[in-house]
């Protein structure tokens, strides 16, 4: 019971760090989608579901591999590099998808809708960010007595961090404008460059130094 509560509190305590590391990828994408007619929670739900899937998948992996994943720098670099390459690819795809803004009504400028898979995939790959709180959670989960215990720990870690993501629904109430969409699209591109660089650094380092 104490371990389960620990997952929740670890999530709540480290939520701002998780939010800060995810925002560079999530916020520009969410802004390109804010002009769609869906409710704000419907926009965020697939992302959070993808994130939960990422957490649970990693929990299962952490439990089955013991402490190996967080401890081995090579494995860490591989996961880190692949996850960041995936984030960069998704952001570039979203940049391309949003290039034709709606012209039906003047000043609307809504971007074409993302598929349900895009935010889920974005949630999944940003969920695999091996930041210090995430590694701390992985170590504790690996130490759990059973697979179910490990996954429960991570599920509650997810619940704790999610509380910090909910304010993002407020983006729905930003004023609709073509300028905002253009800024969001430029930002998507800049962030894609940043994540590509991180991926290159991790994977290149792995190739060169093993």
């Amino acid at each position: 019971m104490a371990r389960v509560a620990e997952g929740l509190f670890l999530g709540i305590a480290s939520g701002p760090a998780c939010l800060a590391s995810c925002l560079p990828a999530v916020l520009p994408w969410l802004t390109t989608q804010q002009q769609r007619s869906e409710g704000p929670l419907r926009l965020l739900a697939p992302f959070l579901a993808g994130r939960l899937a990422g957490y649970l998948g990693f929990a299962a992996l952490a439990w089955s591999a013991g402490l190996l994943i967080p401890a081995q720098s090579g494995t860490r670099a591989l996961i880190y590099g692949l996850a960041h390459a995936a984030v960069a690819t998704l952001l570039i795809l979203e940049f391309r998808r949003s290039r034709h803004a709606c012209t039906a009504c003047p000043g609307c400028g809504a971007a074409p809708r993302s598929t349900r898979m895009t935010p889920a995939a974005l949630g999944l790959v940003t969920g695999l960010n091996l930041c210090p709180p995430f590694i701390a959670a992985a170590v504790r989960a690996a130490d759990a007595g059973s697979l179910a215990g490990s996954m429960l720990f991570f599920a509650l870690f997810f619940v704790g961090t999610t509380a910090w993501f909910l304010p993002l629904v407020g983006i729905k109430w930003l004023p609709h404008s073509l300028g905002l969409l253009t800024v969001a699209r430029f930002t998507l591109l800049l962030m894609a460059c940043y994540f590509s660089y991180l991926a290159l650094l991790a994977l290149g380092g792995l190739l060169l130094h093993g």
Binding site: A20, P24, L27, G179, V183, T187, L190
Partner: protein, 384 residues
Amino acid sequence: MAEKSLPAPPRSVGRSILLTLPVLLWSLLMFSRAFQMPGRAQQLAAAVTLVFMVGLFFLMMRTRETYRWRRWFFASLGFLFPVGFLWQLYALRGSMSIPIEKMLSGDTPFCFLAIPMMLIPAALTRTVIFPGSILPTASNPHSIAVMVGLWFAATLILGKAWCAYGCFFGGIEEGFAAFPKKARIKDINPRWRWAPWAVLAAVVLLAGATFEPVYCTWLCPFKTVTEYAEVRSIESAIQAGIFLSLFFGLVVILPFLTKKRTQCAFLCPFGAFQSLFSKIHIFDIRIQRDKCLDCVACRRSCPTLALTDESVAQGKTLLECMRCGACVDACPKQAAVWHIKGTEAGAHPERARLLFLYGAWAFATMFGGSILANSLERIVGLVM
């Protein structure tokens, strides 16, 4: 820039002197300390700066033109700032590059461009993410507290006009933009004006995620003429390459080809951040629709794309307007006018201009003037 302008009749010499008198008194006050110093170079530099600043203000009063004369000050500031700054760096540490040990000990002079990136980390964790010292020290007088205080005072007085009367970096591009007679590249997609907002969003988000002043580490073109992290790795070599490319691309070549301040218009996140204060600044520029010929001379003259066809049709400038006065000087029908918010557009445009200019020029003399005098002193010292 003001190719088609039909300037208003010049003001009389006597009246122009009278209007310049407050600026003369302010300048004497600002430079009085330098005149009491024993060094001849310092006295001479202060005297030249005083005459330069007061002379330009007199010409602004006499001709009723702003941009033309302000540009002389601003380009001089841009070209002379690196002289004084680098002189100081070489005197302190013998190099333009700052070693990592100096950074860790908080010896990096603070730059105002880092301010937007510091806000989120400072608000959430009370952490300052710039490798400088909070209070001035003997080895680093450009401390964070001093520079943030200066910026805050400047923002209260100038708002976005900081970019036209205070930012020494902008002076470099304005200088290069002034060289050619005509722009080689004229059609710029107005969508590019959103780019600095995207850079602002990106660097603020990444600063929150990495606790690093990302713009300073990766994107600042002015590292080329100030200081940069010592090149000791492939990463720092890539960074130095980016700084050089951005400097020569956006600060030298594109301003020369477009006659615009392209770094300010397409990249600078601080300029975008400063635009947010346009809403609370009491002075702005209005286009009087009843006088406007829709010749778009104002749009073409704007150095930072702060006028679009839509904004001209609405009689307003965009948030990015830095009150440089180029559009007012360029308008052949005096339809573009200085304006105090809350008053009728075109009611007392010259009064609005004067009130704005007294504040702006007082700041320019205090801040930019001291930089000019300091750099001139180095040059005069060399010659003497």
